[in-house]
């Protein structure tokens, strides 16, 4: 037997590792689960060529050419058209609430002016906060509009098909006219960083007490579960807030991200979002047996958060089931709020539904955390 290497010793070590892996089902589950989740998410949920984007149409003309263009948009699969009443207020509303990715305005007399050969303009406004989500649809728009008009211009108007296009497609990229992807990513990063750090930090904070045996002292002391939970969470709210200040400063000074809305409102929302993530971490910590498991559970939460929230890939590009999961994650709503406040200048009223979703999440997670926290060691 060799002094530096012995197969028997090596096999002793290997079989010991397997025994320990078998005793730790969560780690094993992670090894099987992570690739499975990644496969599912990347294979089915993620689509960098989003289709069926909600498109609001103000048709002040109601003529044949406008209708043909709208029908062609619908048929292209990129746009899911719905009609909205005429008026600026309705357009602003649709954008502010994120109900529409595009608003198409067909001006009055559009069809008639096309037939007269006046080359009128068709206005297409795009919510360009996430340039990746709109780029393909916009590039498809030019081709399909011209083709649709060509079909409509038959018989005596066939002459209009020659030469320049019968009408102009005027595209306005709102909120992010240059299509800067950093404007979309940097505010989003704030939510991602908070999700990652806050969940894992609280998760570790409680499991560490259990793993080191200090939980026994803590439980023997006259502390209520609520005091323990708040005492564990509040320091990290402060730390999370520091992270926010840091990212915001970088966004402003280094990346020149526009800040259209109220920073006070953003601060208030951020506290709710941080708390929601901390509550998730706390809930995990009541389940995890040790710090490793806690980190693994945090990762399990983080993975869908980053993939299905609309941070990495356009939310509207995902299939229905993935959007449903995405809607259940606080990061999805926080991203909408941050982008809304910073890029669109959204106010309280516009972000209320997303804030309500985060608050509901916080409530449920907090409830589970308090219910699961044991006052005793059994």
């Amino acid at each position: 037997m060799n002094r530096c290497f012995s197969c028997a010793r090596l096999f002793a070590m290997i079989s010991k590792e397997f025994v320990q892996i078998r005793r730790d089902p969560p780690t094993f589950g992670m090894m099987v689960g992570i690739p499975l989740i990644q496969l599912l998410l990347f294979g089915f949920a993620i689509n960098s060529d989003p289709k069926h984007l909600p498109t609001a149409v103000r048709d002040a003309d109601a003529g044949p050419v406008g209708r043909a263009v709208i029908a062609a948009m619908q048929a292209s699969q990129y746009f899911r058209v719905s009609l909205i009443p005429d008026g600026e207020a309705a357009v602003e509303d649709a954008f502010a609430h994120g109900d529409a990715q595009f608003v198409v305005t067909v001006p009055a007399d559009f069809s008639r002016r096309v037939l007269r050969g006046e080359h009128p303009a068709l206005l297409v406004e795009a919510d360009a906060t996430d340039p990746a989500a709109t780029a393909n649809a916009l590039s498809a728009l030019d081709r399909l509009a011209a083709a649709a008009a060509a079909r409509e211009l038959a018989g005596p108007f066939a002459g209009l098909k020659q030469g320049e296009a019968p009408f102009e497609m005027r595209v306005h990229r709102r909120y992010n006219p240059e299509g800067e992807t950093t404007f979309n990513i940097v505010p989003g990063l704030m939510g991602v960083v908070l999700t990652m750090t806050m969940v894992i930090m609280t998760c570790l904070a409680v499991t560490r007490e259990r793993e080191r045996g200090t939980m026994e002292t803590l439980l023997a002391m006259p502390l209520s579960p609520f005091e323990v939970m708040l005492g564990k969470i509040l320091p990290y709210v402060a730390i999370g807030y520091l992270q926010v200040v840091f990212i915001m400063a970088a966004a402003k000074l280094i990346f020149a991200v526009p800040m259209m809305g109220s920073l006070t409102l953003l601060s208030a929302v951020t506290v709710v979002f941080i708390s929601a993530n901390l509550a998730v971490g706390y809930t995990f910590s009541t389940v995890a047996a040790n710090q490793l498991q806690a980190v693994q559970m945090g990762f399990f939460f983080f993975l869908p958060s980053i993939m299905l929230s609309g941070f990495m890939f356009p939310f509207r590009g995902m299939p229905e089931w993935a959007q449903v999961i995405g809607e259940a994650l606080p990061l999805t709503h926080f991203l909408r709020i941050v982008r809304g406040i910073l890029l669109k200048g959204s106010g309280w009223e516009a972000i209320a539904p997303d804030l309500a979703a985060i608050a509901a999440f916080l409530f449920v997670a907090g409830f589970i955390a308090v219910r699961r926290y044991r006052m005793t060691l059994d």
Binding site: R212, G213, T214, M215, E216, T217, L219, A220, M221, P222, L223, S224, M375, T376, L377, D378
Partner: protein, 309 residues
């Protein structure tokens, strides 16, 4: 005198198996009660139930006049608990650990009380050391200091002197007697016989059942054992002594074999005949507490072995 601890039928089950099985225990105020028993006998579980760290499955009783089932929070405020394994924060200093304990307990005049505890426990030179860097004996002092900061009326100590050197153990026990003299009631679990003999009363549990209860003399007398010392003789003698029908245990202490076994005249009769044949001497001895415990343990059934994988 009133009872600081008075419980009856105390039971705890883990996975359907009674780890603590219907224990009755009473400790008078200002007394030191030694809690003895083999490893895994349920000592820690019992102590944890007394201070509200584990739910009681059956039985009832009071700690400091408070119901152990209903008033766990109130008991925690008036009891000090020192865990078997060091369970203060190793990444905090001695002073920080004590300050935290004092704040959680709402100790009045905190700074002075912490300073006093540091002084009293001789921790002054180490007050700014990380608890994790202390040696076993100092960790134990720190843990004791933390558990008495709020001047509890009841002190629960779970094997406080395991792995601590004899000098530190003696100091520790002197302190415990000091606390008792001030009126504090102490329940202390231990494996050391000399420590058991320093208690006012002892309780012996094995496999979750209380087997003996009383003063050291009462427990020894209650075992009904006789003991003797066998001197001289060569190697192999101890095996032949053990084979005698009246002998339960035979233990070598250097050249002397300490024998314990059946009470009355049985042991004496066996030894007389045996020693005459072997050509060695013997004389009667007082049975020890250890003899009594080993006798009790041998007589009880190991319920832990059942169902074990």
């Amino acid at each position: 005198m009133t009872a600081a601890i008075a419980v009856t039928g105390l039971t705890k089950r883990f996975g359907g198996r009674a780890v603590v099985d219907s224990i009755d225990l009473s400790v008078e105020e200002g007394r030191i009660m030694g809690f003895l028993g083999p490893n895994g006998s349920g000592k820690t579980t019992t102590i944890r139930m007394l201070c509200g760290l584990l739910r009681v499955d059956a039985g009832e009783g009071t700690c400091l006049g408070l119901d152990i089932r209903r008033d766990a929070a109130a008991i925690k405020r008036q009891a000090g608990y020192m865990t078997q394994r060091f369970s203060l924060y190793e990444d905090m200093t001695v002073a920080e650990n004590l300050d935290f304990a004092a704040r959680v307990h709402g100790v009045p005049d905190r700074k002075a009380r912490v300073a006093e505890a540091v002084e009293r426990m001789g921790l002054a030179a180490r007050r700014n050391q990380l608890a994790g860097h202390l040696s076993g004996g100092w960790k134990q002092r720190l843990a004791l200091a933390a558990s008495i900061l709020h001047k509890p009326r009841l002190l629960l100590l779970d094997e406080p002197t395991a792995g601590v050197d004899p000098q530190a153990r003696r100091d520790f026990w002197d302190r415990i007697h000091g606390f008792a003299a001030e009126g504090m009631t102490v329940l202390v679990s231990t494996h050391y016989m000399d420590e058991a003999e320093r208690c006012h009363a002892i309780a012996y549990i094995a496999y979750g059942r209380l087997l003996a209860h009383g003063t050291v003399e009462e427990v020894v007398a209650g075992s009904g054992l006789a003991a003797a010392a066998v001197r001289g003789g060569g190697p192999g003698l101890i095996e032949r002594v053990k084979a005698l029908p009246a002998v339960e245990t035979a233990t070598a202490f250097g050249a002397v074999i300490h024998v314990a076994g059946g009470g009355g005249a049985a042991l004496a009769a066996d030894l007389s005949a045996f020693c005459a044949a072997e050509g060695v001497d013997w004389e009667p001895e007082e049975p020890t507490l250890e003899d009594a415990f080993i006798h009790l343990m041998a007589g009880s059934r190991d319920n832990m072995a059942e169902g074990a994988a």
